[in-house]
């Protein structure tokens, strides 16, 4: 990483002088013919006829039908795969519920809440079961946070840069307002024994997914979430209840939660040994790497878009997040990391949540490499890809959080590139 002084925002904008101001054109109103309808054809038809009916549940405009999750599943087992949030098509910080990313191990269970039970047992004074109706009477809190799959952005480990749109390479992360019961209430009701250190969470899906979570995290800020962006959880996001562990990798945020068993040791399940562990160059693997480190991504302009005006002013915009706290800084480079300028962070900046950043950029038609680099409140700085690989090798698969580089060609096309 070259370390040159940070430019000022103004320098970044004015690096190349403003191109010629566009010549304005002026049109004058034409006098109407009073014998005819005042507006025969020049009003759009949706102003000349009544609109559509009310709807019981709203849907996006038919003109936005291409804003979808991109599904990547195993054809031999269609319930095993992922769907990606189209981050490149979205703005703001909240992911709409229909576009929240998915990772299922064997499909989306259609759970009847009247038949669903949550059991808390193991190293507790009294094993307890809860039905959904009872849980709805507990005090709830709301928490906006991201959830990111440990395998998000794993194409970054490949030798050649994948030419996928931003969300379809990095969109196994979404951000929502989750509402539910602080887990500590329910665990304390059961009575936590002093030997309890871990909690084995299990889902009621056709993978009966089980994984060990430190008790400490559940007593800290974990939620038994029942609502997502104000409405009950979507089936693909854990209906009727799921864990939400702010800042910790997606697999731990167990959906369709049916059991929490308190134990003194981790269970060593498939998803904490075979998967979600990171192979290092010496052949050992990191285990229990729960936290998603700071990361950022320019969502616009990004691959799949193009810059139509040369010269032109473009609003660089993107997302930053950290599993360790708040984002404190996002820097932008247009020259592959030689120089950086601070982006504006859109408030409110929330702990362990998406932060939107932006910066106007005056493009003069030159070849450019756009990058964003996030810093969080612990001082951690998002690494370059070279630094990440130097530290962890190429076979870690999980927890890829390197800086993403978008190449802007002189024609205004955009490619994903490495080496910066």
């Amino acid at each position: 990483m070259k370390n040159t002084p940070t430019q000022s925002r103004r320098q970044f904008l004015q690096k190349a002088a403003l191109g010629g101001a566009l010549a304005g054109t002026v049109s004058l109103p034409i006098m109407a013919n009073t014998d005819k309808l005042e507006f025969p054809d020049d009003l759009p038809k949706w102003m000349r006829e009544p609109g559509g009916e009310f709807g019981n549940y709203g849907q996006p405009s038919k003109h936005e039908q291409e804003v979808i999750r991109w599904v990547s599943a195993n054809p031999a087992a269609p319930g095993n795969g992922v769907s990606w949030t189209p981050l490149h098509d979205l703005q703001g910080t909240i992911t709409p519920n229909g576009l929240h990313y998915e990772r299922h191990h064997n499909g989306v269970p259609q759970i009847d809440p009247a038949q669903h039970t949550l059991l808390i047992d193991g190293l507790v004074d009294q094993a307890l079961s809860f039905d959904v109706k009872s849980l709805m009477r507990y005090p709830m809190v709301s928490r906006t946070c991201f959830i990111e799959c440990g395998g998000n952005s794993n194409s970054g480990w490949r030798s050649n840069p994948i030419q996928s749109q931003a969300g379809y390479a990095h969109g196994l992360v979404s951000n929502a307002e989750w509402t539910g019961i602080p887990l500590k209430h329910l665990l304390k009701e059961a009575g936590i024994q002093t030997t309890a250190k871990w909690v084995i969470a299990e889902g009621a899906d056709a993978a009966a997914l089980n994984i060990s979570i430190p008790l400490e995290k559940l007593l800290d800020d974990a939620l038994l979430a029942l609502y997502q962006n104000g409405e009950r959880l979507r089936p693909e996001n854990g209906y009727p209840m799921r864990l939400v562990l702010p800042g910790w990798e997606g697999i731990l945020n167990v959906k369709w939660l049916r059991q929490l068993r308190l134990t003194d040791e981790p269970i060593m399940s498939r998803d904490e040994t075979s998967q979600y562990t990171e192979l290092m160059p010496d052949g050992t693997a990191r285990q229990f790497t729960f936290i998603n480190e700071a990361k950022s991504l320019i969502t616009s302009p990004s691959l799949g878009m193009m810059l139509p005006d040369n010269p032109g002013i473009y609003q660089i915009s993107g997302l930053a997040w950290s599993g360790r706290g708040k984002i404190t800084r996002v820097e932008i480079s247009a020259d592959g990391g030689d120089s950086w300028v601070d982006a504006e962070l859109q408030g409110p900046i929330l702990d362990k949540a998406f932060t939107r950043f932006s910066l106007p950029w005056h493009w003069q038609g030159e070849h450019a490499i756009l990058q964003s680099r996030a810093t969080d409140e612990t001082g951690y700085v998002q690494p370059t890809r070279d630094a990440l690989i130097e530290n962890r090798g190429k076979h870690g698969f999980f927890h890829y959080n390197a800086i993403v580089s978008w190449e802007i060609t002189e024609e205004g096309d955009i490619n994903h590139v490495y080496g910066f």
């Binding site: 319930g79 059991l119 094993a127 507990y138 009701e189 089980n210 060593m268 498939r270 160059p281 693997a285």
Partner: protein, 177 residues
């Protein structure tokens, strides 16, 4: 302020607070579930000590036949992967340029194999295998790389004692140092 008045005031306050604010933030609504907690369907997780393993036994030869019927379509006839992950082979590959994380090359505990097959395989019919069948499939997979002998009886006593090649290959990053 007289003692009587103070007492009266505090009773009044208590009376009011009972009406306006709950004494506690919430009512305990969990139901005692000792019986539920004992049932097999709530004891699916098997730790490395193997205490939760069900009684049963299996040999690799039986497992090989079952594998061809129930597993090979996704994992390949030799278990080296197809649409699903490879399960066997590649022991010792983890430091190579092309490491393969198979059950036999990577998984640290044999109990995990039983736990995972039982709860989620075959993927089109989870919970359709008997305990003996899970032991049989586990025996077949482990025997293919010589982790157990071909005639080894895998059961609730012997399975936890199987030592996987990569048993010591993991470094815990929690708690953070």
């Amino acid at each position: 302020m007289s003692m009587v008045f103070k007492t009266f005031a505090s009773i009044l306050l208590l009376f009011l607070s009972n009406h306006l604010l709950a004494d506690s933030d919430y009512q305990s609504l969990g139901q005692a579930a000792d019986d539920l907690s004992q049932q097999a369907q709530w004891n699916l997780s098997i730790a490395p000590d193997g205490k939760a393993l069900p009684q049963g036994k299996g040999f690799a030869a039986q497992g090989k036949k079952l594998f061809a019927l129930k597993c090979a379509a996704c994992h390949g006839p030799e278990g080296i992967g197809a649409s699903a992950d490879p399960l066997m082979g590649e022991v010792g590959s983890l430091t190579s340029d092309y490491p393969e994380k198979t059950v036999n090359s990577y998984w640290p505990y044999a109990t995990t194999l039983f736990d995972y097959i039982r709860r989620s395989m075959p993927i089109d019919a989870p919970f359709s295998l008997t305990a003996n069948e899970v032991y049989e499939l586990s025996a077949y997979i482990l025997s293919q790389d010589g982790i157990i002998a071909a005639d080894f009886e895998l059961n609730e006593e012997t399975l936890p004692r199987v030592t996987m090649p990569n048993r010591d290959g993991f470094t815990a990053f929690y708690p953070e140092k």
